[in-house]
Symmetry: C2
Subunit: 444 residues, 2 copies
């Protein structure tokens, strides 16, 4: 990649020809990330030096504040040229983030027809298929020949985001799909209706983007047609957007699983204040929940007053329970996210976790029981800890697998049932188990 310092030096020396040659051979994505290191004045200067056919792609790869700045300083003409070259879904993505005055400026610039399309796209629910689709696609007719279809693509295809999956429509109803591969490898005179696939995988505008991404991955698709409520073709989702959704959804899940409210911004783009705001609510809830565990402990004051050593096993039991529970909940949450585990698998999951927890519990209990017996020569204590461990492991793993499944069933995001919440719940259980066994065995 281009070194920033060299680039800035060339700029300062006003060697625009050299700058232009560099921009000419660079990839649009790399140009965008190079621009992000420049100041506003340099940004405006360099953006205007980017070859015309690349400018829109560079623009759609820029971050929001850079886009805002450019939209603000652009002349009417520059803005119109840019918007002409931008894909419809990239324009909508940008509009969703821009300040209101700039949105108005953009809507005033574009054609009446495009404005209607954009307004419709902006109205789809956030994170729905409609909100990530583009309205530009190759539209063929079933009575065309391959050569007519190829001629049509040659004429209109340059402005379509993807031309590799073409859609055969009849009065806007989707009747078939033809891949560019089929067109390129079939004889000219064959009719589209004899070539097209009629078993079509499609989604509706309101489907959640996470499900859209799952379908992409399951069927290895390049593009997926989106239908409106009446079943008419209104747009397509392309694989690059699906890929982004997949990664974003994984990030969202991972973030939620750590008791942080998810953000669409990167770590550094988020301010310390906003970071704190996303972390505090769950911490407060969890902190006050763990006070319950503390309150239960005080009930057993007499027990640890008599045998203070009992207190020293609390962290080990709490941690082990928490870790066991989060192992199970994490595996189940991920299984649900990848559609490998569904609610009707409830009893299979519970039974499997029970088997696993028996195996895990016995190993941990044996290891720790042996250690305690060797260290303290106290068989009673060794047995109390061992049995508490087995019971804790079983309960934690059951709670860990059941809660995400229940959350899914009642329409909550399973990811919130991850380690932190499970840990807090399991803590209470493990303390109760431990002290009831201990007080009974030692007759406290």
């Amino acid at each position: 990649m281009m070194n920033k310092d060299i680039f800035v030096k060339l700029l300062q020396q006003r060697q625009f020809k050299a700058v232009r040659s560099i921009l000419d051979v660079m990839n649009a994505v790399d140009i965008a990330s190079l621009l992000s290191e420049l100041n506003d004045k340099e940004l405006a200067l360099v953006f205007r030096l980017i070859p015309k056919d690349k400018a829109a792609e560079v623009f759609s790869n820029m971050n929001n504040s850079m886009q805002s700045y450019l939209v603000e300083i652009f002349s009417e003409k520059e803005l119109r040229e840019l918007l002409d070259d931008l894909y419809m879904d990239d324009t909508v993505d940008m509009l969703e983030e821009l300040p209101a005055n700039l949105v108005t400026r953009i809507l005033d610039t574009i054609s009446h027809e495009d404005r209607d399309t954009i307004n419709r796209l902006l109205n789809y629910p956030e994170d729905s298929a409609g909100s990530i689709m583009t309205t530009e696609y190759v539209d063929l007719k079933s009575d065309w020949t391959v050569s007519r279809a190829m001629a049509h693509i040659k004429e209109t295809g340059i402005h379509k985001e993807t031309i590799y999956t073409c859609y055969v429509t009849d009065h806007r109803k989707l009747v078939g799909i033809v891949s560019a591969k089929d067109l390129m490898t079939t004889d000219d005179e064959v009719l589209i209706q004899n070539l097209m696939e009629t078993e079509i995988i499609s989604v509706f505008t309101h489907m959640d983007q996470e499900n859209v991404a799952q379908i992409f991955r399951k069927y290895d698709l390049l593009a997926l047609p989106v239908l409106d409520a009446e079943g008419l073709l209104v747009g397509i989702v392309t694989f690059d957007d699906a890929m982004d959704v997949m990664v974003d959804e994984a990030t969202e899940d991972i973030t939620k699983m750590a008791a942080v409210a998810p953000s669409e911004k990167t770590y550094f783009e988020t301010s310390a204040f906003s970071h704190a705001k996303r972390r505090i609510p769950w911490l407060l809830i969890l902190m006050f929940s763990s006070i319950i565990t503390g309150t239960i402990i005080t009930k057993y004051e007499n027990a640890f007053a008599a045998i203070p050593l009992l207190v020293s096993f609390i962290p080990m039991l709490m941690d082990t329970g928490g870790n066991c529970g989060s192992q199970s909940s994490t595996l189940v949450i991920r299984g649900i996210a990848l559609d490998e585990i569904r609610f009707h698998d409830f009893f299979r999951v519970v039974w499997k976790e029970f088997e696993v927890s028996l195996l895990v519990g016995i190993v941990l209990a044996t290891a720790n029981g042996a250690r305690i017996f060797l260290m303290y020569h106290n068989l009673g204590l060794a047995l109390v800890i061992s049995f508490s461990l087995i019971a804790t492991v079983i309960i934690s793993k059951l709670i860990g697998c059941i809660l995400p499944l229940l959350a899914k069933q009642i329409g909550l995001d399973p990811a919130i049932m991850a380690s932190p919440l499970i840990t807090t719940l399991v803590d209470t259980c493990s303390i109760i188990i431990y002290f009831s066994i201990a007080t009974r065995v030692f007759a406290l």
Copy 2:
């Protein structure tokens, strides 16, 4: 999707014509998942009824045990036909999982040339670009015209996994890239050398598949050329494999972050015994580490013998510290995985987490201090807990952000520095902080 019961009923009534018609309209991925619900005899029967042009695709979507079974019962001829239609990378994927006797059977069936290619592919390190690439791609020459290129694709393209990115080579050296879109929208007589992109994004055979997937996502690629150590083109990675890698890597990270050794199998495919084996090692390590925390507690026996109430705040402090630490570590681990955070950002991250932890600590300390003062009318206790909380939050967040970065720098997977390990470490710190403050304030 086809209902399994209807399908089995048609099979039992030997209505093969109806079965064949159903298979004819079904998608290969859906057929594979339908087959997974049949018994072995039905599987063999139905597989032979699948239309020829779909059979290989169905096969590559089957799970391993189904593939093994079919390879075992196939005649020499059936096996050869199947292998002819399978993409090279799917064949390699299958071979990596099959038992040795079936691998021999397959290698005996295929041509000498293909056998060499397969052996080479099998030799690339697991999870490298070489191990996920295919050796089939469209190879053009720079002095061809567009129409000659299109004719070449029409002739040979049917067997290529992706024809949408074509590679221009000169003595196996990659000199340019042409997209099918460019070919389809450019006049016939234009020379490839005037159309091709020469700024090529490529990877080497040994690059880790996670980095390969990141490049796909960054540049929205359909395919990525793979070069050998001498810079010659040896294959391409296609977007569907990159998409799978992306999801698999996220799953691997999530699994590791919950202290479970990752598996390539799904939750249900993994036996209870194998689940236990993947979970026990970390649990043992963490269990024995948390004994340290317990040992530290015993040092303060006198303190909680004098004020038993002190014990009841242990779970709250431990949990809050663990949660704060895992929030920070999770965000940093994900940031590293997405290449948004690098080691040279070390001090920026530490400073940001310090700011966040001050904000978070003050809010939590105020809330909990107020509660304790109102409940117990004990200002000393309220202050001890509040200060312990602030200190715990700061230390946890710093540990949480520093460890993943250090792990990355010394070549470990940052994902292992997630909640469980952080929690255990933070526990020890929070207990020490808590009791040193408490013993000082109450002069115990």
